[in-house]
């Protein structure tokens, strides 16, 4: 499962200068979060729900097209969903309520709707988040979170985590190469002992490196917060552009409620 976290944190970013790239990061964060809320708020058992999902999908794909995020990247983003596909596929078989005959199988009607809804909602939100990560640098995301008034300590921890992630990852990579060149193949309970010792050594090595970095920062005048440039005010127009995705989704939802 951990394969989904592979690579460095910034590997998710696709450089570019599209309209989506140019939007302020905090506006994008608000947009994606609102979109997810609208998608989740869609009633699963309404007869018009599949039409609404299709509408949301169109909206996200349109944004992805504007942002130049290709289908390959979107599909790779969906890999995290795989375990849930299993769960969703099982739902029609285990859920209670009235049964419906599909291709000779007796399936639960509510389970079928719930399974579809679950998959559709998770997929749509993952697609939106994938576009966000592909068009926003991790450091810009941090600035966005800061502008959304995330507490300073959390922003600091996040910032250092993003900076250290590559350091710790690199350390881990070197240790893995060393381990394998000594003939370690892994697997089984004996492998677990080696992996545990590796993790312990990784912590100590990373921590000691962090201590040195911290002392170096203190000696260069670090006082508990990183200097940031002045933040540019965001005009109504760019907010309108950023919020067009959740607004389109909300329009679809409203149409469903009124017409359905």
């Amino acid at each position: 499962m951990g394969a989904a976290h592979g690579g460095t944190l910034s590997a998710r970013y696709l450089p570019g200068s599209t309209a989506v790239h140019r939007l302020e990061p905090h506006a994008k964060l608000v947009s994606v979060l609102t979109f997810a809320v609208v998608v989740v708020a869609t009633p699963v058992h309404a007869p018009w729900a599949p039409a609404a999902y299709a509408g949301y999908l169109l909206a996200v794909l349109a944004v992805a097209a504007v942002a130049g995020v290709g289908p390959g990247r979107l599909l790779r983003g969906l890999v995290v969903e795989v375990p849930f596909v299993l769960f969703a596929v099982l739902l029609p078989f285990v859920a209670g309520g009235p049964q419906v005959e599909v291709l000779g199988l007796s399936l639960s009607r509510t389970g079928l709707a719930a399974g579809t809804g679950l998959l559709a909602k998770a997929t749509l939100s993952i697609l939106a988040a994938t576009v966000l990560a592909a068009t926003t640098e991790p450091r810009a995301l941090l600035r966005g979170l800061e502008r959304l008034r995330l507490p300073q300590v959390l922003v600091q921890i996040l910032m250092f985590m993003i900076r250290y992630a590559d350091v710790v990852g690199g350390e881990l990579h070197r240790m893995r190469i060393a381990r394998e060149s000594r003939g370690f193949t892994g697997g089984g309970l004996r492998g677990l002992r080696v992996v545990g010792a590796t993790a312990g050594a990784l912590f100590v090595r990373s921590y000691e490196r962090g201590e040195r970095v911290h002392l170096a920062m203190l000696s260069r005048g670090y006082r508990g917060s990183m200097p940031t440039g002045p933040s540019v005010p965001v005009g109504t127009r760019s907010w309108a552009v950023a919020l067009s995705l959740p607004l389109a989704a909300a329009a679809v939802l409203l149409a469903g409620i009124l017409l359905g």
Binding site: M1, G2, A36, L118, F160, I162, Y164, L172, E208, M217
Partner: protein, 241 residues
């Protein structure tokens, strides 16, 4: 550990809106409390070390280990591990940050389910796991073996506890009407197994750190008088003589 199989990295749309809002409020309250209380464990200027712990948990979740007899491999959650290493309040912050990065950059665990995920893995797993750890550490002998036993049991219990709480939330605000008993049985069964891996790896890591830098293990602070940092024990004994 392979939470995603057990469903602890909750995706968007799994729980209804009121439940998500309620767990979100609970998570926000806990994080606010942790922000205040963590100052006793780390001052503002040691945020880098907390960030490092978060990066470490993140990297630790990349290390897969095999689960005997299951078609999936597991990886560490790290709640008890972090709590024992850096202290419970800082651990709440570290786990929250890891979950945020996973939700925003990797779409792993939904954005609207972030509150739920924080409640399960940052709040419940840390608070309950650390509570069990402290309770056991108070009873068990103040030795390396005692600390490691307490750590292992706490790490083991934290996994099915998080899974069971998820089942509870699912019963309250699940969007699917499958029998709660079925979910509980399936999830608890898998997580009882997964907990073994979590416990094994947590004990291995804490043991390794305890052997090299016992001063870095927050949960073993009471061991320190027995192993003074200045010089090796033999040297101290010679000096004492």
């Amino acid at each position: 550990m392979c939470n995603k199989v057990g469903g602890v990295h909750v995706p968007d749309g799994f729980l209804d809106v009121p439940t998500s809002v309620a767990t979100g409020a609970l998570a926000a309250g806990t994080v606010a409390l942790a922000l205040r209380r963590s100052r006793a464990e780390l001052d503002d200027r040691t945020a880098p070390l907390a960030g490092l712990a978060a990066a470490f948990v993140f990297a630790g979740q990349m290390m897969n280990f095999p689960l005997p007899g299951l078609p999936v491999s597991g990886h560490l959650i790290g709640a008890v591990l972090t709590a024992v290493l850096v202290g419970p309040w800082t651990a709440v912050l570290c786990m929250t940050v890891v979950l945020m990065v996973q939700a925003v950059l990797f779409a792993d665990g939904g954005l609207t389910a972030l509150g739920t995920n924080v409640t399960l893995m940052a709040l419940l797993a840390v608070v309950l796991g650390y509570g069990v750890f402290r309770g056991l550490a108070a009873v068990l002998p103040r030795t390396r073996a005692g600390i490691l036993t307490a750590t292992g049991i706490a790490a083991y219990l934290s996994v099915p506890a998080a899974a069971l709480t998820f089942v509870g939330l699912f019963a309250l605000g699940g969007t699917v009407d499958i029998p709660v008993g079925t979910v509980a049985a399936a999830l608890t069964g898998v997580h009882l197994l997964i907990g073994l891996g979590e416990a094994a790896i947590t004990v291995a890591v804490v043991g390794a750190v305890l052997a090299v830098r016992p001063d870095l293990v927050h949960g073993a602070a009471r061991l320190r008088p027995a192993t003074p940092l200045a010089g090796r024990p033999t040297t101290t004994a010679e000096v004492a003589r």
